[in-house]
């Protein structure tokens, strides 16, 4: 087997790693951190941390309504962040970029506002078997309330969406097709553009869960022609507490408000109100100002490095990792081959529960995740309660994959398998 050193990547890893303070950490004396859990949340570069720090130390104020210098600086910084996000996803207008807490809230916003107002009893929503709970439960809640039918596109043995099942289910004329751009368990990158076009042909609105795609490769909402896109700041080098819903203008404009309160109104009397224009209609109360600014800095950071280079780096990493893991006896990797997936690998080892794998890996500084990764239905499909998941981002190295593999061998020793 090749070792990490001979692999090539378009990224300057040494420089990038320097940008992430946490990567210098020793998790135990003498044991440095190998962070392979970016699918759960990414680490943050100094630039992002400092953007928020600076905001709090210099310009902190509530936005939109203040006339003093701090309020004006804060408002400008917040709205500038919105424009950065707009450009990052190639949205036609920054008014179509709505700040939420996370992907989950963004999807719930669509369910509560668009779903509640546009769907009626008996309507069909099409989901898939590989969805994260965040793209399942909001629809279950809505279905329960207004009596919707749900169908799920099947996942094949090797973790792909079954395209012929998809086409069959489109014949049932779903009103909405909500699906993930990239699986957070098996890493599959779904052919979103093609599937959205087919959904549109069948008369469905298409919502894309971009929690795992937007951080890892270039997502262009206009090229995809997607109706709604949801993603989270914390998975793309940004802070916690901020996410985004993008929507087509015609749809967003028709939608009733979701949360009521300050800033989302034009006028309030005793007993009535008039909603504000986009995007404010959907941003009730004091927003996550520092967090939006942090996300703006994250977008700058990622753009500075280049999303194509990041995607390419992850691709060579995952290919190397899959090769190295294939050496290990009694280890089973789920999902498709490297060319169809992003930097996520879920696996099981016979005789050792994923929790135990993760715990022993942690002793060697290797941080992976174990569990159902908020995708129970997919695990049920594969008939396993939990997998161990290693995931990669721009700061990960080939050497780190070697350390993962080494640590897995130690697990085998300890459990005698």
């Amino acid at each position: 087997m090749m070792t990490g050193q001979v692999q090539s990547t378009p990224l300057n890893l040494e420089k990038i790693r320097d940008d992430f303070p946490v990567l210098r950490r020793q998790v135990r004396p003498g044991v440095s951190l190998v962070y392979l859990d970016s699918t759960a949340t990414s680490q943050k570069p100094t630039m992002v941390i400092e953007a928020m720090d600076r905001y709090y130390r210099q310009s902190n104020a509530n936005i939109h309504r203040g006339i003093h210098v701090l309020a004006e600086e804060a408002t400008a910084a917040y709205e500038e962040a919105r424009e950065k996000v707009q450009k990052f996803i190639h949205a036609p207008s920054s008014r179509q970029v709505i700040f939420t807490r996370n992907t989950t809230e963004a999807i719930n916003l669509v369910a509560y506002s668009w779903g509640f107002s546009q769907l009626k009893s008996g309507d069909l929503i099409l989901l898939t078997e590989m969805e994260h709970h965040s793209n399942l439960v909001p629809w279950y809640l809505l279905a329960e309330r207004i009596g919707l039918r749900l169908e799920f596109v099947s996942v094949t043995e090797d973790g792909l969406l079954d395209q012929s099942d998809f086409e069959r289910k489109l014949e049932l004329k779903p009103k909405l097709f909500a699906f993930t751009h990239m699986s957070n368990v098996v890493g599959t990158i779904n052919p979103a553009k093609d599937m959205i076009a087919k959904a549109h042909q069948a008369g469905a609105v298409a919502l894309l869960d971009g929690a795992q795609s937007v951080p890892h490769f270039c997502v262009n909402v206009q090229e995809l022609d997607v109706d709604f896109l949801a993603f989270s700041g914390h998975k793309m080098c940004g802070p916690t507490g901020i996410g985004v819903l993008y929507g087509k203008k015609e749809l967003l404009e028709k939608m009733p408000p979701f949360l009521g309160g300050g800033d989302m109104i034009k006028r309030v009397t005793l007993g009535s109100f008039k909603p504000n224009e986009l995007p404010y209609k959907f941003e009730a109360g004091t927003p996550a100002i520092a967090e939006a600014i942090g996300l703006g800095a994250a977008v700058d950071y990622l753009s500075g490095i280049g999303m194509d280079a990041i995607a390419q780096h992850e691709h060579v990493l995952v290919r190397y990792a899959l090769e190295r893991l294939a050496e290990i006896p009694n280890l089973r990797v789920f999902g498709p081959s490297a060319d169809k997936k992003g930097g996520v690998i879920s696996f099981v080892m016979s005789g050792v529960h994923a929790h135990d794998v993760s715990q022993i890996l942690d002793q060697y500084g290797v941080a992976i995740r174990a569990g159902h990764h908020c995708a129970m239905p997919l695990h049920e499909k594969f008939q396993i309660p939990a997998t161990a998941r290693a995931s990669f981002y721009l700061y990960n190295t080939f050497e780190e994959i070697d350390r993962l593999v080494e640590a897995i061998y130690r697990v085998k020793d300890i459990f005698g398998v």
Partner: protein, 132 residues
């Protein structure tokens, strides 16, 4: 920094020259800035040739919104409606001669927004009308 409130603005606020109502009017529109209660009502008389013959405003609100409306009415007298449509955010700022933060910008642009919504014959005034 008191020059911020240029004398022109305080002067036009206290002694407006284009305040009033035209009845009948060819173009009439009104709207307000809910953030602060600024209100602007605009009446225009327009010749068959599309030239603005008379333009008056009514309103209440801050010095910036009222002075800006007064100056805008002055500016459009004798202008063709096609030219009126082209008046930009920057034109208003140049007219006022001051720098404005995002909130005060809304005050300054309220009259232009109302004017454009009227000229375009729209049902509702949108901020998009005054964004460059």
């Amino acid at each position: 920094m008191d020059d911020f409130y240029r004398e022109l603005i305080i002067d036009r606020y206290k002694n407006p020259q284009y305040r009033g109502v035209l009845d009948p009017a060819d173009i009439r529109f009104e709207d307000d800035n809910p953030l602060c209660g600024d209100h602007i009502h605009i009446d225009l008389r327009v010749g068959e040739d599309g030239i603005v013959r008379e333009a008056l405003f009514e309103g209440k609100g801050c010095a910036i919104s009222q002075a800006s409306a007064d100056l805008l009415m002055e500016k459009i007298h004798g202008m063709h409606l096609d030219e009126v449509k082209k008046i930009s955010k920057q034109d208003i700022l140049d007219m006022l001669g001051i720098e404005l933060g995002p909130v005060r910008l809304k005050c300054a642009l309220l009259s232009l927004k109302v004017l454009k919504a009227g000229v375009y014959g729209l049902g509702e005034a949108s901020d998009d009308l005054v964004e460059d």
